[in-house]
Structures are given as structure tokens and as C-alpha cells.
Subunit: 665 residues, 3 copies
């Protein structure tokens, strides 16, 4: 599969006189794909039913004539004012019971019948007009589902559809009452029509009710996307359909939406993400202008796993952005580094957002490849460099970004995030953070990782790591056992039934067949409390560490049935092993997690390569890539100079190297 | 009075097939009382007017047949969905003007006429059916009034009743205008009907208006509870009526509600309370798995004071709970320790919440005496141990939990909390915290303390401590003087009239006859500012300390009239004495408060026993109890081995000892 | 111009029997002016259309008979309950879409037609009755426009008037769409009637939309004030009209309102302001009982600049206040110091708030010159001392508070604050703080400073300092150049067009003619990140410092065109100079800012007098004043003893000295 560069372009933002030169310069820079029109509804249909195709026809022609491929979008992320005024029920309703207003974007309710119909109409119109245009090579549905927390709405339309969804799921109200356990606090319902949205309650609403509402809202996104995909496929056969996911917005199940797509893409903003996410202030300062070394990689691995064709980065940060609390500039070299990082993880395309910084409106402080006065910015120069390097890499390995299975898999689950948000038991039990910490520990040991859902095939992996996964698929124990891999289970795994109840046999519930333990008690711990952990006979690693956030207490009565590999200071098992299954009863500090993963990987026949926290290695196809996030030169040892395709032994700060991997395997 | 153990049980949560065995095991464990039905309305009356008594009849019979006494509850804390749908005006309205919703509990407005009527009906039905059942020995009204901040509602119904309440209080609108001082900012009213709830104002609403609204809301709770008590008494004569108060929820005057009850009970969750209350993070870490050594004691002493029969712990934490931000597990021994602490403070019953952890709904992570898979948990074993020890203690002292007056009294007032919340003058002026700090200082000196309202009899006390009490009863000065006790007044005492005005003679207002000072100026201090305090001639204690939060500046012109025992660094008096009255012009650091209390206690003829912050002593009946909250063994000295009834000289961490007190008095 | 003392007095709060003695004591204390009636609407018009003038006639007569001048107020800050009940549309609507309620003050919407009409009526009535009363010497419109954030309302009435305002500004909707850039995100409008208030949007509303809404709301205040001024002038010719501005509330353009007034006055509360504003906790502790040494001065200089007659302090803090989070007491001497500081900056009158502390309502904890029990408080004694000192100073300089232009000007702009709030790019980019830091650096160098708007005449200044000013007037570059002054431009200056777009030539936009740089990139930095700055050849000052919050990156390609005086550690220019124009590309730490200002001032021919952070000097008329905010005695050197008018060489902590300035100029 070829590696390509792309860019996001808004012809409607610029005088038509600039288009031709823009297209020429894109092409000259090495860009092959141009995404357009995702926010252009008010220009496509300025008044109800009056379409203005002229400008868009010409824009596509200009791009096509320059030899560029168009990624055409449906414009449904920004319904125009006249549509909202005609159908105010399009507006989503917040948890405060108030409708959101027109004036930014994503102001629509996935459950609004009016909007479903209006969306169908505009999608039909766009797909019909451009579905077979020779320049149109790909499609994108909508834009960034879920951005700005827009998945869950509490409108009457949403509640009405929720009742249908519940009826579908439970068939009769008694089943729902049993599944949820509504006898508690007299919350029993006599019919589905009595059920409201789980908001505005005096204290927390019923967790099963809340979880089902989240599942329903997620399903609504998939349904809405599917409608668009079907329209596009009908009118534009053969063109792959994509959507651009957001790493920060996980209120819907990305796996489920991706099933209806050909290409899963994501929007990569490493600096904004660092600032807005869970990282400690000192980490935010340390990686201020590079982003966290594992953040983009983690998401590459997530979306690679769910994409039928090679995944893309649909939007790549090209310079400072406007939307984080603070917006530093990437260090010189980072745009190139991020681009190569994507390809090294299997990307089919890296598309920069955006061609030129707009001087107006909400995102006027968001950099582009060009400044508003139309001079090429640093990011633009680095993109050009990447285009040249792609040629060299492609020459060295015609299939350099092929998707081949890694030896290590990490299970990642959206529902787990919702469940722990609804039912945390400890205020800082943040699922994505813990999944990321496990991922980061694996990466710091030099492993390539597949991030996959719990229902993915598990065969072929040597090591499978499961961050806290409360609800496990029915056949998960069997598939884990059949995989032959070393398996690491995080705490709280198997701790809930699908209805959000405690399993009858206590956790790990359905996994008890795999791991004969009984978690009879748990505790969450405040941030200023940790528990010492002693590792048994750890001559090959750390002898002690700290447990944080959480403790599963494992019934000591069963200690004959499993091996205790580490204990808390009060004697309770902290890490137990049963055959190839390893259970962590807490979230350990980074160094202890890394040390234990290294031991388990060795048991799995893998060889760790300790890298510290700022150098990263990725292997793909015939090449090994090295990324230097440190402030110091990194020296690669034991590689013959002739093997380098990009860079050399000495990798500068923010530098990249790629060399031919020795064919040891 | 016998000491008994109880448990909270929800037959409706479990298959009927389990009930008999549950009852048998309760009895075997030493449990005598079982509280039921407080959340069972939807099972008692599944549809409007259609009662299903069968299951409840059978449950009560099973318990009675096993020799257990039933504490029967009215189910009004959880009105069912059908009732809410019929009468949406039942829902309380928040300060945001929006009604709360069905879906958790306590979703009712104390002022709703519909709910008053519906409550009367269901109470009548339950009381009529079970009022004379031989197994029913006690009653509980509703459940945890005020939990989740549900006392104050801003509904039209509440405002309508508030106007009546105001008319009753002030008779005519001119009197109200004068009492509040509405001439300020042209807030004058021409009739009671012009008065709204004190919310949504541009800046703070009138403080007298706010205080009266809080008083009104508190009175509404008392009125509602009284209605239930009267119904129960009519149908179930001779059975004591209780309510279970919450230590955390003080939006209504617990004294006033308790006046209508036979038994004041409270729900004791020492770990959750530690996490959710004002304690500093390092204190939360230090007492993570024990709770603060004075927290449960303080509340025992509060509710003992307001209960006609010996107070109970209606719900005792048996393991980790689910509702605090973090939920650690009690250390082994703590359930026993907490139980004995209650009895040592005079409890008639300690009732554990709950028999078995429920695997579903909001509280599925709340431990019980048994795990969800029905095995006895640590708390259950410790309850059993307590049952055995009760027998030993009862043998040593037939009346071991008798309510005898202590030598030291602490005045505790609910209205003071509301007033300082409404009118703090310093953002961290938190009344319960300051009252607790005074209590804790007394306990660290080994004193037993009665916590009483300001209108309680004061005779017989050697020392009376008054935390900041802005509004004092009219006869308070006279009664304090008549008590003969050493009296300690905290800052801001006597600083307001009942209408929330500054007294005409300035603070301490009505107490000036007792203490001839004039507080002509005050200041509140931000958390990073303290003021040094120098103690005069303190050869027997600390010579200096720090003042925090607040300073009353006392007019120096009157210094001949009182003795200055300590001064701030700028010369203003920090602690003055006039005869047996001691006035603290600030909130001192813990050590200084303790040192001054020790000196004053000595003046009162009492002998302090300095204990530090983690060992506590209680004397009751013929016994002295020792509670060890430290992590080290505590050695009791000077007690003959033969005197021990529980434990021995060496008290393990989390251990309890009880020995016969020498008959020195 | 004479210096006078005044006081705020509320006859309606006290028995009529006290009035005469109050007036006598005021006069005896040296007070000449008494402000009354600004909150008395409910007493003037107790019921619709029924006026009660009697009490007010008598109050004014009592004051006039005592030889006092009355400052008469319109009572519109507190519409009475009956008016609100008749016209609920008077209530302003919050960003949450809910109307605010009656019960405090300022509960009105500047755009409400009902209130505009009701205001006109009460103003007519009051102005007609007292316009020519011999005791009435001045007028005040309303009270503290904007207090409690009451400028911006989101009512239907406000939106309707906003549409008219937009139509007036843009004439046609296409112009608006272009100016705002609504093509972004399909936010285009087809008519002005489609435009709503910029609230409740899914993510941030359009910044140009938001800025225009703020401008509109500000203009509404000016329009409302103008209506009152016109009524007063019609009925009370020759009496100057004032309004009392609030330093903390800058949601409207104070310059625009002041244009319609004769006297700009402000309400000075140095301790409350310190507590509530941006200062770091350690600064809040350091100046706890004095206020920040530059806070009152800054505001004196702001309001002096916009007042036709000498500005006043209409309300001067006399002791502790009630409204800050914590409320310490001023140190003895501070009320005198603050009073002299006002006169030293050109005040015509210092009026204390209030005569006597009220014992009731919201402000009962706000000190007055007298305590509630009517004894003279410290502030009262200090006012008396000031009155005596005024006589001495007036004897030494008959025109001691004359308004003469300073050598140094600082540009201060209200719109800049709104713009950076709406469009910060870095979460802590707080305009007033940065303007204040520049001012404070100038004051620590001993300079007197004029604070002026960007459209003020600039001639005669030797040095002009421009804190970050995003939108500059069209002729600003020309006027700056013509001034002949050394000019310091802060970062982000010239960074936006009036429509809130990036200038076509990039920042500094319209100032590029003055300063040939191109700011091609910016970055904001989180609080735990700073950037080292190296100063070139700084033998006369600091060689290095730290940049904070922000960096403008200046195009290195143009480095021939300007001099680089300091660089960031990564080589980018941090401070560049072009002729007499100095550009700071970041916000430097206090010491570096001060050092650079000292060098630039020297280039301007001025002589800095380094004072540190706690002693301040002001020169006015023939006198030099010294204010000692430290805790140590300050010694003035080189001044002959005979020159002192107030104090002497040794200035005590919280002390003031004034001496005749040598006639060197």
C-alpha cells in the first residue's frame, strides 16, 4: 500500500482567484489528497432547497486538474441557521434539560427525526452530484462524531428512541426490572413508557439505567453514520468511505461505527491532547512541544485495528492549535516526526489540517501548512521533506506500511470507559489513563502493540494485556485460553455482568474458569495514599513498588489454586499467576508495571528492549523506525550504516531514523 | 438497659427461599433486631391503591419466627414512579429553579400537599397492618431526612407555605420589614405575598430572608415527621418510634425532630465521613482505614443528648462503602471497635447496614455483613465477637450503657451552621468544623463530653464549652452564670440577634451581662495567614500559638473590666477572662486550644488525661473503655489485671479494652 | 481646585431623631459633602405613583442647615418589588437563559423598554423636586454600573436591540457575514433577524459575534446613563453630574460613559480588591492589611484621565468590608494614607463609605466611619486628621490637586479585556493584570503616570507604554510616531482587526508602518513553563530574565530592519527596537520588565528613582508625596526639613509625607 500525504482545504474560505495556485503548490509539495466541504452546507444550500453547486464544481475541477484526489465530505456537522429555525428540535438537549443553540458546530441531536431526514437529503444531493466525479476518490461522513461531547442528548426525541431501544433489548419490562435491579429504592417500572433519561435525580441515577443510556446514545451514532454510508455507497460505488474519529471523544463505540466504514481515520493533535488530558503538570511541561511519546502511537494502533483499509491520520497538527487551555508550538522537526510515526504504525495517508491558517472565526489561531499571509510555514516545509522521504522508504520497502499482526495485543474497550465513569467507586478511576499506562509500559520495553477490542481474534499473540475490563464477552475466557499467549489481566476485570451487576460468583466472574480466584472485597484509594508492594523472588527486576488507586482483595482461602507473585504490605496478594494468566490486583507505579511486563514478556518468549520514556522504536514491514523525543542526541548501536533509509546512527532531538531490520525472524 | 445488635435487611432484594436461612444465621450471630421495608413502597403498592401485603407478611413472620424483633419503617423515602407521574408537584425544586427527577431516592418536597397526603395514606396503611404485629417492636419514620441535601426546596408549594410561616412569625409585614432591615437596597415588601424564595438574585440575597427560609425548611421536616409519628402512635401504641439521622446532613434542626421521637438514631459511616468532610488530606490519609478517632464519638454524644430512650446506631458501616469519593476498607477490628465505641457512649443498639451486599443498583459496592455470594465477611465475624463480649460486659455491669451526665458539656447548634453558611464574612468559617475541633481537644484530654443544645439544662456541669454561637437564647447568660461551671465562649458568640442583625450594644450582645467586653471590629483571615498569640504567664502550658480564620477585636477601653490571658502580636486581646467566663477571640491552633482547655478544666476542678490524637478513653457506668486508633500497641498502666472485662493491658492497634473503673467518685 | 472630604449617608436607615446630630458631627469632622438616596426608591415611591417626599425633604434640609452639600443620586440601582412584579421583563437574563430575581440590587436589564421608561419617570420626579434645592450641589446617576456583572443580559429585549445595533453597524447582512467570517462552520446569516445571543452553543460561539455582543451591551449602559444625565441637566442646571465606577467591573467602556459626565468617580476598596483580584496568595498575604501599593493609584490615574472636573473617590474603604472572600481590617493609618494617595493623584473629593455601619441586611459587616453603636471608629479619626492636613497642604499650594500631564503615559483599553476574555489562546491571558504589571513597574521606578485611552492625544509624553492592545485605532501608528516619545508595545499589540480577524499582513497589523516586524507564529505557555530571556549588552541592567504566558515569534528574515535587544533561549527575538519603538514579544518577569523600562525611560530623557515594591512617590502641583507601605520606617534623604508640609524625613510604616518639590523644572 502506498504512503500518501493529504491536506484539508476550504475553498469557500478564500477568493476563487487563489485556488489554482493553491492546488499547484499542494501538488508541488508532494500532497496527493485534498479533503473538502465538510463544513460547507450554508454554501451548498444557502436557502432551503436552493443548491449552489457552481463554486464547488469549480473547486473540485481545479483540484482534479492539478492531479489531486478529492476526499469529499458530507456537510452534516454544521447544519445552517435556516434549517435550525425551521426545525428547532434538531438541537440537542444537555443534562441541564436545556437545548443547545446554533452558533458553533455539531448542534444536532442524533435522535432527531427532522435531522435524520434533513441529513439524508443533503447527503443524497452531494453524493448524487459528486459520486462519480473522476477527482473524487474517497468520502468522509460528517466530521468528528462526538466532538465537544455531542453524543448524548436528553431531548424528548432521544428519550422516545431510548424506550424503543430498551424494548428491543429487554422485550418486556419485568426483564428490565430484573436486569437493572430496580427493586432497590422502589425504582420499578410498570412499562417502558415510564422510563425517562437518567438525569436531574436527587442523587446518582441507577447505574444500569445510565449505562444503557450511554449504549443507546452510542448506537444512535452508528445508525446515523450507517445511513450516510449507505447513501454514499449507492451513489459512489468503489470509493472508500471514511470517518475521522477523535482520540479525545469516546462517548460512542468507535469499533461499532468503524464496522460500517472502509477506512478508519483519526485526527492527531499531540500537543493539544497532552494539555487537555490526564497527564500531570510536570509531564505536560516535559513534553510541552513534542507531545507524549506514546499518545499518537496509541491512537495509531487503536485505529489501525478497526480499519479495513490502512488507517489514516485525517488531520495532522501542523503547528500551534487554538483549542487547548495553552497552545505551545511544536519544536522544529515534530511535524515530520509525527508524520513518520503514523506511517511506521501502518498509516495509508497523513493529511495535514489545514492548508492555510484562516484569519477569521473560532479557529483563526490554528496553524496551517501556510500562514494566513500565504507563506509556507515550518509544518509545510516538513511535509515536503516527508514527501521526499516517502519515496526513499517506498523504494526500500514497497509495502512499508503493511498491516501485519504484532506479537503483543492490548485490549481496549469503550464501554469500559462509560461504565467506570458511571460507577467509579474511586473518583480518579479513569479507564483511558490506565489503558494508556499499560500501553506505555509495553512501548517503553520496545514492543509493537496491536490495540484490539475484546471480541477480536486472539490467536497468534504471544502476550495479551487486558486493562481493567469490567464486562467481558461470554467466550472471552475460552478465547484467551485458546490463544496460547501469556495473559495479563488488570484489576476489576470481569467485575460486572453486562447488566452492571456483580457476578454471582464475585469477580472475576466469567473469567473464574481461567483464573481460580475470588475477589471478595475492593478498595479505592485517594491520590495521597499508596500501598507498598513486595515482589517475590524478583532477582530479575524490581523487588518493590507502589500500588495506587485501587486494590482487589483476593480470597486467601484459595491460595493453593494460584501462585502469589507479589504481595501488598498487609499480606494480601497483589499479583497472582495461574498458568499463563497473570492478574494484577492494583494499578502499580510505572516502573513496577514495566518490570513485571518485562518478566511476563520473557515468559512469553519475547525480548524486551528497555528504552526509557522518550525514545521509541517501531518495526513495520522491512524497516525499523527510531523516534527521538528527548532533548539529547540518541545513538543507535549495532546497525550497519548501509542499512539506514532515513537518518543515521545519531538521531538528533526530534529526529527520526529508519533502517532495514535484520531478517532474524 | 440492654445492649443489642441489629441489622438492616431487604427481603424484597432476595429470593424468598433465602429468607429462612438468613433469619437463622442472624439469630445465630447474636443479632436481635432487624430493620426492614424503608425502600419497599413499589412492592407494597405496585400500582395506585393496589397493595401487595403477602410477601411482607411472610417476611415479618419468618423474622419473628426466628426470634428476631422487627424495626418497621414507613417507605416514604422512595415514592414510586406511578405516584410521581400522577403528581409531578411532589418533586422538589432546586436552587436552579428546576424540579429534580425520579430515579434515585428522596425525590419529594416536604411542602408538597400531594405528597403530604400520599405519605399519610401509605403510613396509615403500613401502620394499620403491622402496628400490632407481635414481631414489630420499633418503628422508623422515613429514612435519613435531609440526605443528599433534600431539605430545602424552591417549589411554588414551598414558597406558598413559606409565606404562611412568615405571617405566623411576624404577624404583619411591617414587623418583617423592620426585623430584616429591608429598607436597605429598597427591598421592602408591601405584603407577605410579595415574598419569594431567596434565590436567583443578582448578588447575595438578604441574609435574614435566607436564614428564615432555612428555618422554615427545617420546620417543614419536623412537621412532616410529626405527621408520621402520630399515625404510627395511633396504630401501634407502645412501640418506640425512631428516625435515623445523618451526621453529614444538618439542613434541618435535629433537636426539633427528635422531640417528637422516642429514639434518636444515627447512621455511622466513619470512613466515608472522613473522606467527605473538612479534614486535611494528610488527616484523611492518616486515619484512612479507621476514621477520625473523634468523629463517631462526637455524633454518639450529639444523638445521646437528644434521645429519650438510649440512642442507637441504626446503620453501622460494616466494610467499604460506595458513596465517598474514595472508599477504602476498614482495618480488621474496626467494626468491633466502632461497635464498642457506640456502647461506651451509651448506645442501646448497634445495627449494621446491611445483612448482605446487594449485587445490583446504586449501592452494589456497599459492603454488608455478608458478601453477595453469601459468605460471612469480616464485619460479620466482628459483629459476632461483639455479641459475645456484650454478654461479658452486661455481666460486669447490668446497666453498662446508662445515660449519666458528663462533667463537660459542649453546646452544638444547627442554626449556627446555617447562619455562618449564609453570612460567613470569611469563606472558610465552617461551624461544624470548629465545634468538632473544640470537642476533639476535650477528648484528647480524656474528658467525657455531653453535646447539648443551647436551651438544655446546664446545671451539674463543671465546664461548658460554647463553639461560635451567633444567636444565643434570651436566658442563656443567666443560665450559664447559674451553672457554676467554667465557661469557654468561642469567637462570634452573641454576635447576632435572632433576626440576624448586629446587637445594639455590639457583640457579645445578650452575653455582655456575663462578660463585659465590646467587640468593636472583626476580621477574617485567608488560609495562608495566621496571627501569633502570646499567652500570659503560661508556666503550665504553651506560651504561644497561632490564631487562624478569625479575630474579634475587643475594645481596649474596657480592659480594667476583664483579665487578658493572651494577646495577639499587635496587642489586641486574644483570650480574656472575667470570673469563670473565658472568651477566645479567635480560633487557635489545635495545640493551643488543648493547652488552654487543660488549664480551664483544672480551674474547674477536673483532671485532664492527655492522650494525644489517636487513643481515646470513655467512661460509662462502672466501666472505662480504651480505644486504640494508632498503629502501635497501647499499654494501659495502673490497672489491675482482674479489672479487665474486655481485653487486657496491652491494647493492639484497632483494639478495645474495658475495665472496671475504680470507685474514686 | 479645593480638596474636600465627603461621606455616604442613608437617613432612611436611622431614626429621624439621629439626623441632626449626625450632620453636626460630620461637619465637625471636616466633611463637606454628603451623598444620599441612591438606594431609596422604595421610600421615595412606596407604591406605584405614590411619592413620599416628606422624609427626604427633611433629610436634605437637616444636611443643608448644617452647612453640608448634598450629592443627590437617582435611585435606579434598586427598583422596588412592586415595579418588578408589574414588569417582570425588567429582570436581566443570565447566560443560562434564566431571569435573575428581585432580592438584592441591580436586578434590571439595560435593554428593557419597561425599565428605561420607569427610570425616566423616577429620575424626572427626583430631578424636578431637588434639581434647584440650594443644598444639592452634585448629582450621581444610578450606582456602580456593572457591579455584580450586570452589564450583559441575554433577554429577548437585549437580543432585539442587539439586532438593531448590528444593522446600524453593518448596514447589510453580507457585510456582517464578511466581517465576522461566518462562512467558517456554515454560520452564515440571511438576515439580521436570524442572529441570536452568542450563548448555549455546543462549543465556543463565534468570537466576532461575542465581541460585538459585548460592545453592544457596553453601549447600552452609555445610552441608559445618557438618558439620566439629560434629565438631570434639564432640571438641575449648573450642578455637575457624576457616576461612581467600580474598579472591578469593566464589562462596559468606562471612557464612553464618562464622556457624558462632568465628574468621573470611583469606589476604592483596596483590601477587598487585593483579595478578589489576580494577585498570588503570597502577595495577598504580604499586603493583607494595606492593599497593593499600586492598586488605588492605578485607578486614580485611570479615572483622572476620563474626568472633566477633578475625579473623586466616591466611596473610600473606611475599615473592614463584607464582600471579599476574606475581610481583614486595614492597619491603623491606612485610611489616612489612602485619602492622601487620592489627593496626590489629583482627586477633588474623597468620600467615605459610609457614615455609620448598618446593623442589618447584606452589608452589616461593612465598616463605616462610626460603629453601629455610634462611636467614632479608627477610620473616622483618620478622616478628621486628613481634614486638618488638607488645610495645611492647601495653604502650601492653593492648587495642590491640579490635573497636569505626566511625562509617562500608559494606554488602557476596555475592549482589549473583552477580546482577550473571548479569545485568549492561553487560559491565563488576563489583560488587566498585564496592564497593571506595566503600570506597577513604572511606579516602582518613581514615575507619575497618566492612564489614557488609545484615542487620547499623545503629544507631550516622553514615554508611552502600550500593554497588549489587540485592536489599535486607525491613526494610532501616525499619532505614536508624531508624539516623539519612546514607545513600548506589549505582545499581541496590533494582532487583530476591529472585526476580530488576523490582519492581512499579520501582527502588528496597522502598526507595521511604525515597526517593520512580522509576527508569524505565537504560543501560549502553561503556568509551570517559562522561557529564559537573554538581554544583549545589558551592562546597565539585568542580563537575563524569564518570559511568561506568551511568545510572539518574530520573522527572523526581517532582522536587518530592526535591532534585537533580547532573545529567547532558542534564538527568537524577545525584545526588538526600531528607532524609538520598543516591542516586547512576551510578558517578562517583574524585575526584567522594570529593568527594561528603566533603560527605555533613560533613552526618553527621564530619570528613574528605583523604589522597590512598597514605597511610592507621587508629585502633584508644588508637592511631592511619599507613601510607606512597608513595615519599616522609610527615610527620605536630601530634603530640607523646612520643606515638609505633612510628616518629616522619617516616614513611619503606613505613614505619609509631603514636601515642597524643588523647582528643578
Amino acid at each position: 500500500m502506498r504512503m500518501r500525504l493529504g491536506v484539508c482545504y476550504y475553498p469557500e474560505h478564500w477568493p476563487e482567484s487563489m485556488w489554482k495556485d493553491d492546488a499547484r503548490r499542494m501538488k508541488a509539495l508532494g500532497i496527493e489528497q485534498v479533503r473538502i466541504a465538510e463544513f460547507a452546507w450554508s454554501r451548498i444550500e444557502p436557502s432551503p432547497g436552493e443548491y449552489d453547486w457552481g463554486w464547488l464544481d469549480r473547486a473540485i475541477d481545479v483540484l482534479g486538474d492539478a492531479g489531486l484526489q478529492v476526499v469529499m465530505c458530507t456537510p452534516t456537522a454544521t447544519p445552517p441557521k435556516w434549517l435550525i429555525d425551521r426545525h428547532p428540535d434538531i438541537l440537542p438537549v444537555g443534562a441541564d434539560g436545556r437545548p443547545r443553540a446554533f452558533g458553533s458546530r455539531r448542534h444536532y441531536d442524533f435522535s432527531s427525526p427532522s435531522y435524520f431526514e434533513a441529513s439524508r437529503k443533503i447527503c443524497e444531493a452531494v453524493a448524487e452530484r459528486y459520486g462519480k466525479h473522476p477527482a473524487v476518490a474517497y468520502w468522509q461522513t460528517d466530521n468528528e462524531f462526538g466532538c465537544h461531547n455531542t453524543v448524548v442528548s436528553y431531548s424528548p426525541a432521544a428519550v422516545a428512541r431510548f424506550r424503543l431501544w430498551l424494548k428491543e433489548r429487554y422485550q418486556n419490562i419485568d426483564a428490565l426490572n430484573r436486569a437493572w435491579g430496580t427493586v432497590f429504592w422502589s425504582m420499578e417500572y410498570r412499562s417502558f413508557d415510564e422510563i425517562d433519561a437518567p438525569i436531574a435525580t436527587v442523587t446518582e441515577a441507577h447505574p444500569s439505567h445510565r449505562l444503557d443510556y450511554r449504549r443507546f446514545a452510542s448506537d444512535e451514532v452508528a445508525r446515523y453514520n450507517r445511513m450516510q454510508v449507505e447513501i454514499i455507497r449507492a451513489h459512489s460505488p468503489g470509493r472508500p468511505v471514511a470517518h475521522n474519529f477523535m482520540q479525545l471523544f469516546t462517548e460512542f463505540d468507535h469499533y461499532k461505527v468503524a464496522r460500517d466504514l472502509d477506512v478508519a481515520t483519526w485526527d492527531s493533535y499531540p500537543l493539544g491532547a497532552l494539555e487537555e488530558q490526564w497527564y500531570a503538570p510536570e509531564i505536560k511541561a516535559k513534553f510541552l512541544r513534542t507531545g507524549h511519546p506514546d499518545f499518537a502511537s496509541f491512537n495509531h494502533d487503536v485505529y489501525r485495528g478497526m480499519s479495513k483499509l490502512p488507517f489514516w491520520v485525517m488531520e495532522q497538527q501542523p503547528g500551534p492549535v487554538n483549542w487547548a487551555h495553552w497552545n505551545p508550538a511544536p519544536l522544529p522537526g515534530m511535524v515530520r516526526l509525527w508524520s513518520w510515526e503514523a506511517f511506521a504504525h501502518g498509516a495509508g495517508c497523513v493529511s495535514y489540517f489545514r492548508w492555510r491558517q484562516a484569519p477569521f472565526a473560532q479557529e483563526q489561531m490554528h496553524a496551517g501548512l501556510n500562514t494566513p499571509d500565504n507563506r509556507l510555514d515550518i509544518g509545510g516545509s516538513e511535509a515536503e521533506q516527508v514527501a521526499h522521504e516517502i519515496a526513499r522508504v517506498s523504494a526500500a520497502d514497497a509495502d512499508a506500511n503493511a498491516n501485519v499482526r504484532s506479537k503483543v495485543a492490548l485490549i481496549y474497550d469503550y464501554e469500559a470507559k462509560w461504565l467506570f465513569e458511571i460507577h467509579p467507586q474511586g473518583a480518579d478511576f479513569h479507564y483511558p489513563r490506565f489503558a494508556f499506562e499499560y500501553y506505555s509500559a509495553l512501548r517503553s520495553l520496545g514492543f509493537d502493540v496491536d490495540v484490539i477490542p475484546a471480541d477480536a481474534p486472539l490467536d497468534g499473540y504471544a502476550m495479551i494485556v487486558v486493562p481493567p475490563l469490567p464486562v467481558v464477552p461470554g467466550d472471552f475466557a475460552v478465547r484467551l485460553a485458546a490463544s496460547g499467549a501469556q495473559i495479563v489481566l488488570g484489576p476489576r476485570t470481569g467485575s460486572k455482568t453486562p447488566d452492571l451487576q456483580i457476578p454471582a460468583n464475585l469477580p472475576p466472574g466469567a473469567l473464574a474458569s481461567l483464573l481460580p480466584i475470588r475477589v471478595w472485597r475492593v478498595e479505592s484509594m485517594r491520590p495521597n495514599v499508596t500501598e507498598p508492594v513486595q515482589v517475590n523472588g524478583a532477582s530479575d527486576g524490581l523487588r518493590e513498588g507502589q500500588a495506587r488507586h485501587w486494590r482487589d482483595l483476593i480470597d486467601a482461602a484459595d491460595e493453593r489454586s494460584f501462585g502469589v507473585r507479589a504481595r501488598f504490605a498487609d499480606g494480601h496478594p497483589a499479583y497472582v499467576q495461574h498458568g499463563s494468566v497473570h492478574y494484577f490486583a492494583s494499578l502499580f507505579d510505572d516502573r513496577l508495571t514495566e518490570s513485571l511486563f518485562a518478566r511476563i514478556a520473557t515468559e512469553a518468549g519475547l525480548t524486551p528492549t528497555p528504552l526509557g520514556d522518550s525514545v521509541r522504536i517501531s518495526r513495520r514491514g522491512k524497516l525499523t523506525y527510531v523516534f527521538n523525543y528527548t532533548n539529547a542526541r540518541h545513538v543507535i548501536e549495532g546497525v550497519d550504516a548501509s542499512r539506514f533509509v532515513i537518518g543515521a546512527h545519531e538521531v538528533e532531538p526530534q529526529g527520526v531514523a529508519a533502517y532495514r531490520t535484520e531478517s532474524t525472524e
